[in-house]
Symmetry: C5
Subunit: 311 residues, 5 copies
């Protein structure tokens, strides 16, 4: 039975718990009273209800008797913005209950398939449904990471071209996103590992390979996050080096220019003095000879700097 | 029986150890003799008493026969200042004794609840009381971390706007706070883990999920601390980069300016010389032609620097 | 039976699975339908087929009943360019199936040997063939690393001579290659370890030492990668230091030059003033005395800077 | 029996090995022959004797049959200088032998207590004596670390005030001390752990809590060392940042100054030229108008730099 | 029986495998055929022979039935140069075979002792001989590290005195040596650990303490290498800081100088102008008053910079 939209709690109590895949999908956690009533209805431990409502949980799996509780963080992209929200699952004998803050569309495909008829998810029971939803979450990690990868690559190209302050701010933002995402995804590895090792009884024998698959994927997510962190650190170094490079060039320009003109300015200053007795001033070609000397000096300095590979 | 205020030790001996939750809360550790007398009264091992009095303990849990000893560090905020103090617990058969340096108000809520009547804490015994107190301590770690988070965010915004020396000092102070807090909180993880794994006998069967909850929370505290440390390191990098950026701009300003005016100054120096024979000086429009040349030179340099993206 | 070139699937079904070493080498993964038909023909689990077709797998080994699935990343050099592609193996009772994207020539030697007649690979069965192919892949890691080593060494020599921006970009590219290669090779260690520990039944007793050998080699690959990463980091430091050094020299040049000429320019400026009453101007040897003073000043400054080890 | 001062080896053989606590304290390791004779007398394995004489041992515990050998490094402060020396213990059935290079006074208190009469150490046997000595060594680590903490704090305050080269050298020295101390103390953790886990038989049942206490303390020592290392690294960063800050200020001063005076100098240079036809020179108020223009220019630049927050 | 010099393989076959310590020491690995013949003669597995000939092995220990194979890297100093070569051992029932590239003299002492007569090595069998040779190799690590320590110390003193480019190159070279040595020595720890734990059967009961000793020493080698790596990193920091310091001083010199002379040059420029109407020029004491003003300005600036602690 598929009950869509904003339904009353009462409707949910009519689940046919024997012959169907029952998925109670709760969206929005503001109505705490409702959540607590659902908790009571389905005999969910108060600590679990508290964890569901407190949306800054560390990802974890816990079993309370015949009930499996999973909470983790969903990452998704809306309007080019990376967002995240907490999503919790309670797997009971004949029903899977999911709790999340907003709708993100990432479960749409699964819902469509269930509604479409007697497909695999309907046939295989709530444990396989749980796997499908977790798999969709993990797949979305990759979507987010691919988007991050593109941004990082674009930033790297940009920095290599011309280092600018705006890149620094972008870099800082990417770093923060990465640090936060790592904090949220790292414990998921543990979660899936626990699932496969300790809570395996909640899954049918034939669905176990799928758990291994999840584990496999989350390892790849974490490898990728670590790699991106390394790359971001190395981008910070690159930015610094590019900046130092530019600074060096700027300084060299200044120094070459000063080295040539400061002595010349001194020389013309000398012949601007008003001493009564300055023989050179009265030489017929003094002025032109001086130009020659200054030209030679400039040429000499330019050759010297060329040799020093200053430009 | 609730004995409040500065009571005598004698009064504490009248605890009804069978039917009540007994919590002996000792505040202030200066009176070493009193602590030692309490130690003797309750048969506390001399090594424990020593640990209680020496307020630089590493957080740990130890069991001595039928006695459980826990010491850890409490973090709290008073007048925007982050402070910490050592707090120790001795859990015996029918009494929980807590020792701390000053009052901080964080146990007030629990005390109020106990006094209010037959609530859960009164019903569940000393082990649940111990859990409640530990939970209050861990919750306060989050309060402190949230305050730190706000300061870090404010500092980041500030640095991004305009890097200044005062930010550096703030950053250094936050780093130190983080390093110290990490040193104090890291072993608490081990403590709670030991509690759940090795000293579980001190807790009623029904209270065990609460221990798992503690463990869970402390992991989140540590994740958060590690994340903040990463962010602080990355802020230091940001500060450096912002500074390098500014330095670069300053240098570019200086270089552009010098590049334009140093040659011009040389040129006007030339025509300030007093040679007898300088034909240009006697040309009717020499002065105005020179202005034209200097203008053209300046324009050329400005175009060149624009092309080099120097400003 | 060796079936070469673009053969039809039907031909592959005629394998004599008893008396020969059967190796079905699939090149090119674009024709997904064909891969899926092969999968069905050889009873390969749909999850494996999916992994084969999705070419961004994390290296791993998995056993499904009597089938062993291995996927890893092959590194090779074409036209001085380091490339990589995914390669997957499915080892069944009497056939080894390999899947890869393009041909790279690195299996040519093994193919030649098999075709040449009754050599060791033909005699020893598919498990030894699998070992030979894995060994060829690992050996190619060394080929790639040796090429990287040469590039790193060349870059180091270059930086030591004269730091330049182009080196920075090369360094960044090498770093990225290293980070990616590490991400791909690191899990191979785990793969071979699992192979030796958990999936050992797929190998004949006498071939087990060869697995240990593989393990041994991959450890050396990882050691080398880590070492190169260290060296690249230290090269970045070297680059920075060389740049700082140059900057320092540039600054010293500018400062020495300015220190000498700025005071001199001031002095000649003084005697360029037009005050009515400047006694020095009318002294007979004033001009020559001034030259003497300026010479002495210059000499003094040069001696001072020499003492300060500024040049 | 207490035999003090420079005694002969013969005297030591008269130990009453049954009813007393026997502690043979050897000071000075130059007389290798004597040490070897003691070794033979007490049946100490030649490898142990070698370890005792070679004073660069890694801290370790080893048991040879009924003999326990411990070697570690003692840290102490003499005249504000941090020093260290190797100290070795051999615990046998009825005697504890200690070997060290010089006297440092840190065992004085224990010796005094033993001599004072029937105190705890005398009563409890050689294993408790060994604990007491190890405890004194670990306590001295804290003394040394407290002194280091003060120096680090003083250095931090100093750097925050005004970064100078001398601080850099102090920082480097502190770092080296920390690196060396860490190298020496880190294996002590392992030592005490081994003592508590594997060599526990050498200790009476009632003395076991004391071993746990040692373990506890050494963990705190190591935490503190790691924290100080973090702080020192962060101080190096601070020093750099303070220096960059100053450099920035210096550069800004130079740039502001140059930006104002270089254009002005150019302007006055213009009117120092000797062209025959320069109309401005002959205007009655030209000179004063020029001052006005230069004043306005200066004011404009100052306002501009203020706006740019350059000072 | 001791067979020295370039002997034929035949001679080696006459070993008295019962009553003597038999050590077949092969020097030079160019003659691959000979090595292979030895391999066949002594029934050495082809994989081992391959490992012996391929001189870039990762240090490891492997047992093949009743044969123990060890390969590691020997470090030694020749003419102040740190060199390394691979050395392999095959321990069989009654003979120890060693393979190395060149002679380095470090086994001379052991050979001398064996030849000298019935000493411990002759008495104790091939396993003790193997220990002695391994011990000699490990002892040589310390010799090399001591030499490195001296170089590092000399470099540190040098950098503290005056940072120069040549030091940077030395530092880079030391770092590379350290990275390579670490790569070669790190797996030796594992090797000795395996030897003590898994391959213990190849050693007599009474020789086991010697293995523990080896383990102990290699740990100290690794500790030392890690410490030196830390110190080298900290030296790089020191170099940078010393350079920044110098740069700072250079900049300050330039800025102080410019700050004083640029305004003065402007002032004298003013009075070098040729306006018809400049009243100051005609004042009797104008020139001297100007000197006074300039002197006061200079003094003021010097006092200001002193206050700012610029010199």
């Amino acid at each position: 039975m598929i009950v869509q939209g904003n339904t009353t709690l009462a409707a949910c109590q009519n689940f046919d718990r024997e012959t169907h895949v029952n998925w109670l999908s709760v969206r929005g956690l503001q109505d705490k009273e409702l959540i607590q009533r659902i908790g009571e209805e389905y005999h969910i431990h108060p600590l679990i209800v508290e964890d569901i409502l407190h949306t800054k949980q560390r990802p974890k799996v816990e079993s309370y008797g015949n009930m499996l509780f999973i909470t983790l963080r969903l990452y998704y992209i809306i309007n080019e913005q990376i967002k995240s929200q907490q999503i919790s699952f309670v797997l009971q004998n004949n029903v899977l209950i999911s709790f999340r803050e907003h709708d993100t569309g990432i479960f749409q495909l699964i819902k469509d398939r269930i509604e479409a008829g007697q497909n695999q998810i309907r046939r295989k029971g709530e444990d396989y449904l749980l796997y499908s939803l977790l798999d969709a979450i993990v797949d979305n990690y990759f979507v987010v990471l691919d988007s991050l990868s593109e941004r990082i690559q674009a930033l790297e190209d940009d920095i290599t071209l011309h280092p600018q302050k705006s890149q620094l701010l972008k870099l800082q933002k990417l770093k923060r996103t990465m640090i936060t995402m790592r904090k949220h995804v790292w414990p998921v590895r543990e979660l899936f590992n626990n699932l496969e090792r300790n809570e395996i009884d909640f899954f049918e024998q034939e669905n176990k390979p799928y758990l291994r698959d999840l584990n496999d994927h989350i390892f790849r997510v974490i490898d990728t996050i670590e790699t991106y962190r390394d790359i971001l650190t190395s981008l910070m170094d690159l930015y610094h080096s590019m900046l130092s490079n530019r600074m060096n060039e700027v300084m060299k320009t200044l120094t070459v220019l000063s080295s040539i003109f400061i002595p010349l300015t001194f020389i013309v200053g000398v012949y601007g003095m008003n001493f009564d007795n300055m023989p050179e001033l009265h030489s017929q070609n003094g002025y032109f000879i001086l130009w020659g000397i200054m030209g030679a000096l400039t040429l000499g300095l330019i050759i010297y700097f060329k040799k020093q590979k200053w430009f």
